[in-house]
Symmetry: C2
Subunit: 380 residues, 2 copies
């Protein structure tokens, strides 16, 4: 059975991208590769909406997050983080590994940190660097990135945001959104296998790197070094050439459709999943649901783990459960990238309904898929 | 024109490996992937010849080198490095980025650090961690890894070696060679695109990680974290799944031929290149030539850069020049991996001869290729 991934990343990879991955890669110092990389870099600048520069590291998204911490936080510089889940917590863990003790503005799981509390915390005590998460993958929650970023920047902080599951999913433009450093990974909206971290550096971030003053050791993850070479569309260390060939292809897919339409497409798909799943007794875990990942609480009496198992064994659909304290409590449906068709939303909702029924919940047969279909039609 | 890479890495990738790369990758938390990764891990343990554990990072080889520095060197712990080229220097640069000041035992470019000088330096002042390079890619020079490692271990140091261009090229068995930490990359003898760092951790290295005591900040590059998860054939962060599928395939290729035969194959190919090139007026730059990369000084009056250009434009063969102070002085022919046939050695030598002739050197036409062919025949 061929399984289809509806996971919160890695996501299903389009055939075009897989074909690009299988090319004999050119040498990374050849003109062919330099031209391709220069082109990818220009497209990434547009996608991130930055007048600065996007650097590409051979690393997972976490490597990109650590690069931001190592490259931007000075010794004893006060830091602050907005946290409401595993990936917000990852900022605090990386900061702790570097000897920093960030203040944490926390919201409960499934909620987003609200801008007034965040601004109040920044007013109470200023921070040099503020850490945000745009889409919290562990709970399927969207933060109001622009409001939080503007509040932090207005109070003098450099703004660093995890946009791993929001880039090419939710509207994002670093310049307009007051985000100085945006960290993304390859295996989400960019539809690649894992292995690349992308770090968008806005003008304030570049200026700060230029000024220096960072005191943490960094070499491979040193963004100053990477930014200097990126100015010539180059990398300080051997780049992951094949993944960059694939990135060139996935950027083409996004640009052919147009990034605004890519955002709308994700919004429609997510709305279909939400409406369909709710019509068969699932409830939304998040109070501010993201369009990247939908976190669902199963109907009462139905175990989340059993739903995940059922969809996999009976329907060939790979979903994810909850992590850490959400283990066994939620089901997460990932829907990032362009390998999904509207029909997939209908199919996933039908399968969720089938799982609920099979596992003992009372549902009206056929309603989930129909609701999803109607939602898609009314959005079209 | 399709060009063939004879570069010191990335190397030419076999078609089988490219096909593996283009598979729809399984989710990294699926049983399919876990089983595959467990199998790859076991094979890597054999390839490194370690009774410890090999960890796989999504990073370039330099990321693996930094992981070793960040994870093993304690604050104010004395370090020492054997340096005779760019990659030996990389150890000292990474150490410096982490605030360490390694003592350097240096040999001139093209030579290897000799074990007696190394032992004398260690006798003069002990070191907690010793850094070595097995095959120095910038000069095509092989170090006597075992002698250097044994000398360092006998004097109490933890031994860390860059085996980036020696793994699956030169005989190497961590346990027998007294190497506690061996760092490799994917785009050399393993015939993959760049993007994976592999770190072989011997029993003494694992014990040291267990004991703790390291003081540098590290998160993504923390080998303790990676080793703990590797014990269950898992990774702390999303692995570069596609590259690991390709690694599974390249490990199969190596095991089908047998690693000893892979070593011999590299030795024969390199010997053919050396004899053929020398017979048309090139001289060997290295006093201790490695079988991974051959560094050649062109006949007098012939510019190295012009040779590289000639081979590329007239013969479709991509070679490398020298780096840094060796720029313009040498030509480097890379011959790692299994995508090269004996006939390629003859062809490269013929092309080098053609370049020398075209660029004004006096050579006997046809001798280079014939010499290479005879060398291959006598070795067969």
């Amino acid at each position: 059975v061929t399984e289809k991934l509806f996971t919160p990343g890695p996501v299903e990879i389009p055939a075009r991208v897989l074909r690009a991955l299988a090319q004999r890669p050119p040498h990374h110092r050849s003109e062919t590769f330099r031209n391709l990389f220069a082109d990818v870099s220009k497209r990434l600048d547009r996608l991130f909406g930055t007048s600065g520069r996007v650097v590409v590291l051979a690393a997972s998204g976490t490597g990109g997050m650590e690069a931001a911490v190592a490259s931007f936080v000075g010794r004893d510089e006060p830091t602050i983080a907005a946290v409401a889940g595993k990936f917000g917590d990852r900022w605090t863990k990386i900061l702790a590994a570097y000897g920093h003790r960030p203040r944490v503005v926390r919201a409960e799981l499934g909620a987003a940190v609200d801008p007034p509390s965040w601004a109040a915390a920044l007013d109470a005590e200023p921070a040099g660097v503020a850490f945000l998460t745009h889409s919290e993958t562990s709970t399927g929650t969207l933060f109001d990135l622009r409001a939080l970023a503007q509040a932090a920047r207005a109070r003098g902080a450099l703004v660093v945001a995890d946009v791993v599951t929001s880039l090419a999913v939710h509207p994002l433009r670093q310049d307009d959104d007051a985000v100085d450093v945006a960290v993304a990974g390859s295996q989400k909206g960019l539809m690649l296998p894992p292995g690349l971290a992308l770090v968008g550096l806005g003008p304030r971030a570049l200026e700060r790197l230029e000024r220096g003053g960072r005191t943490s050791p960094a070499f491979y993850l040193d963004l100053k070094r990477a930014a200097d070479r990126a100015a010539d569309a180059d990398t300080p260390f051997t780049p992951a050439v094949s993944l960059i060939l694939a990135l060139h292809e996935s950027m083409s897919m996004i640009e052919e459709i147009g990034v605004e339409e890519v955002w709308r497409r994700h919004a429609r798909f997510a709305e279909a999943i939400r409406s369909g799943a709710q019509s068969s007794g699932f409830t939304l875990f998040s109070k501010s649901p993201a369009n990247s990942v939908t976190a669902l609480v199963p109907p009462s009496g139905v175990e989340a783990g059993a739903v995940v198992k059922h969809l996999r064994s009976r329907h060939g659909m790979v979903l994810a459960g909850g992590q850490d304290e959400l283990k066994g409590k939620i089901v997460r449906v990932g829907h990032m990238g362009l390998a999904y068709e509207p029909q997939d939303a209908v199919a996933v909702c039908g399968a969720l309904e089938d799982a609920a029924m099979t596992l003992g919940a009372t549902v009206v047969a056929g309603r989930a898929g129909e609701t999803a279909r109607k939602t898609l039609e009314s959005a079209a």
